[in-house]
């Protein structure tokens, strides 16, 4: 009997006994990209060895970054051809950018360099922003580094290692935070309680992104971060023209605040250049979506949405990110032109609502186990309006629009119709035949319209599989339970047999 994917995993830890055999060509390609990743990691490690070791030993969340090769393997699991190449290129680009940012962070971190004049000087030119605020605005300060403050201690580790949030969420709950709040702000609160945020920056731009919980966790974080801070209030009813003026005024006010604390003058030409690069990045994304609308979608799943989130938040307006996009699109185009599709697709699924960070490679499992290809995902769709860079005002309106339609905001705010009607539209557009609906149990904004999704799918005769998850708390709902929801649906509703029976039920509770 041929072996399934789960046969190659160590029970409990999910660690592969040996790496995946993808056929000679793809395995060699994967090996070379793995070497490239290790080149990036070794280069980072050797750039500031003492500082980096101090950081690894100081911050619990840094341990997650040591598991990055394993994380990339999971994100590339089952991938072949252009999908594999796109995934590896995207991920390696992320690795190079993240390691660069970690170097900036740790060089300025007063926890690691207490009393250091050099670190103090570096901090004068570091702008901290809430991680759900895209960094595009910061491009107008080319002499400064804009750091998405919670991205590196919180968001990325939660993707890389499902257990990374657990300790911090426990801390929050020990201090009285209710267990029903979303794990994302709870994790942030826990980091603040433990003083486990790097001590960097000259000022902080907080925000109300994306939701009520994030507003409130800011209060707890502000107390520990101790930087001069200003709230960038991003309007919720973003579809209305009437709120746009306010959105722009908020951005202008934020710029004034940043000018005051950095001592820099805002560079509108630099912003313009960045906006134009961002427009090109968006166009590259649109092309990817066009290709995914075909019968042979080349680049779907985990690496696609992970990269999009990172690109939209952290590397919007970055020339290197655009270069990566163009390279990846060329790879994808070639495969589509050749009419190839090196994956077994039984179902074209729309994946709606926020995915579970604690199961970042859920899409890979869907495809490998049940042949469900994630041709379109809600989390992938944000900040898609092109910015008019012809005047300063039009640019500001464009940036304001980007912020209002940011990750999670684009669908969960603006009215029911934005999230519900958009689902049916995408279903048609991508010629889907089923929906995977994430039911993030602690997301109050979306949980409050669960029934409307159910009824809508029933009315349209669309098979919709509800997958319960708790964003990044594996102790609440495990990966196994998530898979269980899909298994039950595929077996009882769709009456199907799995592509790989070993992946139906397996133990990976201890897996990163």
């Amino acid at each position: 009997m041929s072996k399934g994917a789960a046969d190659n995993m160590n029970k409990g830890t999910g660690i592969l006994r040996h790496r995946e055999w993808r056929g000679l060509r793809d395995t060699v390609y994967d090996y070379l990209q793995w070497c490239r990743l290790w080149g990036i990691l070794i280069k980072w490690a050797l750039s500031h060895p003492v500082q980096n070791i101090k950081a690894i030993f100081r911050y619990r969340w840094m341990f997650s970054y040591l598991t990055v090769p394993s994380f990339f393997d999971r994100i590339c699991s089952g991938q072949r051809g252009a999908g594999l190449r796109a995934a590896r290129n995207n991920l390696n680009y992320l690795a190079s950018d993240v390691t660069g940012t970690l170097t900036t962070i740790f060089s300025a971190d007063m926890h690691l360099h207490p009393g250091s004049k050099k670190a103090e000087e570096l901090n004068k030119k570091i702008i901290c922003v809430d991680e759900l605020l895209p960094s595009l605005l910061g491009k107008g300060f080319p002499n400064c580094k804009t750091i998405l403050f919670q991205e590196y201690p919180m968001y990325l580790p939660s993707l890389i290692n499902q257990h990374s949030p657990v300790h911090y969420i426990e801390q929050s709950e020990l201090y009285g935070l209710p267990a029903d709040v979303c794990p994302l702000p709870s994790f942030e609160a826990g980091l603040a309680i433990e003083d486990d945020f790097p001590k960097i920056g000259c000022c902080m731009l907080t925000s109300n992104m994306p939701c009520d919980g994030s507003i409130m966790t800011t209060m707890i974080q502000d107390r520990r971060i101790g930087l001069p801070s200003q709230q960038l209030n991003v309007p919720l009813r973003w579809k209305e023209d009437e709120v746009q003026e306010y959105a722009v005024e908020e951005i202008k006010s934020a710029i004034e605040f940043l000018e005051k604390y950095t001592g820099e003058k805002y560079d509108w030409d630099a912003l313009k250049a960045a906006c134009e690069i961002w427009n090109a990045q968006n166009e590259a994304k649109f092309e990817k979506w066009d290709m995914n609308r075909t019968d042979i979608p080349p680049h779907t799943g985990s690496s696609a949405w992970l990269y999009r989130i990172f690109e939209h938040q952290a590397v919007c307006g970055e020339p290197k990110a655009l270069a990566n996009d163009r390279k990846v699109n060329e790879i994808l185009r070639r495969q589509v032109a050749a009419g190839k599709c090196p994956k077994t697709i039984r179902h074209r699924a729309i994946i709606w609502n926020t995915p579970a960070n604690n199961y970042a490679n859920f899409n890979n499992w869907l495809l490998e186990c049940w042949g469900i290809d994630s041709v379109c995902e809600m989390i992938d769709i944000h900040g898609t309006d092109l910015i008019d860079t012809s005047t300063r005002e039009s640019m500001l309106y464009g940036v304001a629009d980007m912020y209002q339609t940011s990750t999670m905001r684009a669908h969960t705010k603006g009215g029911n119709e934005v999230m519900i009607d958009a689902l049916w539209e995408k279903y048609e557009e991508f010629n889907a035949d089923m929906i995977i609906m994430f039911d993030q149990i602690s997301c109050k904004g979306v949980g409050a319209i669960n029934g409307l999704f159910e009824e809508g799918a029933q009315r349209r005769g669309i098979p919709m599989c509800r997958v319960r998850q708790d964003l990044m708390d594996p102790t609440s709902i495990s990966r196994r339970e998530m898979r269980g929801d899909v298994n039950a649906f595929m077996q009882t509703v769709m009456n199907e047999e799995p592509l790989d029976p070993t992946l139906v039920e397996f133990d990976d509770d201890k897996s990163w």
Binding site: T13, I15, L16, Y31, T67, S70, D73
Partner: protein
């Protein structure tokens, strides 16, 4: 010539080593092995926990 041979041998050895590490997932397994002591270390750090 000798130097080139030595360099070639080193490169071949490194290549084979990396292939071994890659194929048998040794990089991941090493990190897994140090996970427990690292967590113990983090637990032992004195912290200024407060709201």
């Amino acid at each position: 010539m000798k130097a080139i041979m030595i360099i070639l041998i080193i490169l071949v050895v490194l290549f084979l080593l990396t292939v071994l590490i890659y194929w048998f997932n040794l990089d991941t397994k090493i990190v897994k092995a140090i996970e427990k002591p690292m967590m113990k270390h983090y637990d032992s750090i004195k912290r200024d926990n407060r709201l």
